[in-house]
Symmetry: C2
Subunit: 282 residues, 2 copies
């Protein structure tokens, strides 16, 4: 299993990170093959693919201190409620990563571009939680490690903002077999991306999360300037791994349907991705 492959490698050789902000190696990392061997933690970051979230009930409870926090740094929508069912909603926080990084091989991470992480504390039904004390403490830890943090008062807002990018670029990268630069260079695809973004924006608004038009423009401009990037979903596809279709596309589509909002481009993307994933997984 690839988790064990990573474990063996990192335990022996440590972790290597290449980054435009400076390469570094962590020769010794506390790695564990089994959660049973781990001490209870103040902060547990979930960086697992959402396609493996079914194993969280067996992993999580033991490693979180009773007053600890589980920080969900996964893509997609409606991940926190599932984690809240496991550890209680008062021990859940969320966040999204606005950065480009790929794991190229076990223990070897390449950070390509951008580096912002947005945090948002969690309340049931995604009621905005404001800037909580624990969020500020965690943000401080990240920032001391050189990672810029945006402390958001509204977790659901930042989830929808990330989806503005993730739905078009992750989805289309698989359907079109393309990296970001090729998509941005195509006028018809830029039109399609912008229509997908508008649909995401519309659904977010139906949930009271208003994303300014300038954010969409910014996402287009950032992506155009970005180091050509193979999205995480495209890498999963190329590696024949399951795709995070449900978290990134299926959940937002169902959120739209619950509010009776037509999102024909998201719907078609969802159908195409389901097919391609099924063929790919044989």
């Amino acid at each position: 299993m690839s988790l064990n492959r990573d474990y063996d490698y990192v335990q022996r050789y440590g972790l290597q990170v290449d980054s435009p902000t400076g390469n570094f190696v962590l020769p010794q990392v506390h790695v564990y093959r089994d959660v049973k061997d781990m001490p209870p933690c103040d902060v547990v970051i979930i960086a697992l693919k959402t396609t493996h979230n079914a194993i969280l009930p067996g992993l999580l409870p033991a490693v979180v201190k009773s007053d600890g926090v589980v920080l969900v740094l996964q893509n997609g929508l409606n991940v926190e409620p599932a984690v809240a069912e496991i550890v209680g909603s008062d021990r859940v926080m969320g966040g999204v990563c606005f950065l480009c990084a790929n794991k190229l091989s076990p223990g070897y991470i390449v950070h390509l571009d951008y580096q912002l992480i947005a945090l948002g504390d969690y309340r049931p039904d995604y009621t905005p939680a404001g800037r909580t004390e624990r969020m500020q403490a965690i943000a401080q830890d990240f920032e001391q490690a050189g990672i810029p943090i945006d402390q958001s008062e509204d977790l659901l807002l930042i989830r929808w903002k990330k989806l503005i990018w993730n739905i078009p670029f992750n989805g289309l990268s698989v359907v079109l077999n393309a990296q970001t630069d090729a998509m941005m260079a195509s006028s018809p695809i830029c039109t399609l991306i912008q229509r997908l973004m508008q649909e995401v924006k519309m659904v977010a608004a139906a949930y009271g999360r208003y994303i300014d038009e300038s954010f969409l423009t910014e996402m287009m401009e950032h992506t155009a300037k970005m180091t050509p990037y193979r999205t995480s979903m495209k890498i999963d596809y190329d590696e024949k791994r399951p795709l995070e279709i449900e978290a990134i596309v299926g959940q937002p589509l169902r959120a739209a349907q619950q509010k009776h909002i037509a999102v024909p481009a998201i719907q078609m993307l969802y159908e195409q991705l389901q097919f391609l994933n099924q063929m790919n997984r044989g």
Copy 2:
């Protein structure tokens, strides 16, 4: 050039057709390398890909008798008006092929399934022409050769009917890298195909061509029972040839836009195909 490759082969070895209705070889076929060597004809069938229609003005006038007919057996919409500009609208007839056949190599045709050809005489603006005498005469010739003919009173209606199949199956076969059987086996793709068909049906209706729901069901059922088929657009894609995107998808999309009808699935398919064609052609 592949036209010459075909010429050389067919002149030497004739034409081989494999068909479920019986294989046969035509050892001697009247083939010409140049239209200048051809006698003027009563009936000229255009079986060229629409992507090459720019060469028609140089081919057509000389080979059609003054009282002859050009029969456009191509896919897509709005092909006849362009041919009418070359030879005059009174010498144009159209038709669509409801059959599965592929050219596997020069001079070698494999007919896989179905065999109906629908003919419709042409009038400016696709005004229904009824069952004209010349259409009946041409139909008789086809039928004497064992090819079933549907004589339609309305060319535009049969064009839209063919698009009911061509838009979803030709388009998606390229985007999804799939044959008909894989698409029909996928529930999300069947849903998408039916939505695309509904969009085509809606645009046809805006032009006064009403396609019954039972025809859509029939197309789905026929395709499900069909010998697994690689569509003509998929073959063109695999062979790195230009795709008939404009005739099959672009023209119907613009027809929808002229009537202010939203066809989001056709639009997205068009954008995706343009991108894939561009990448494929380098």
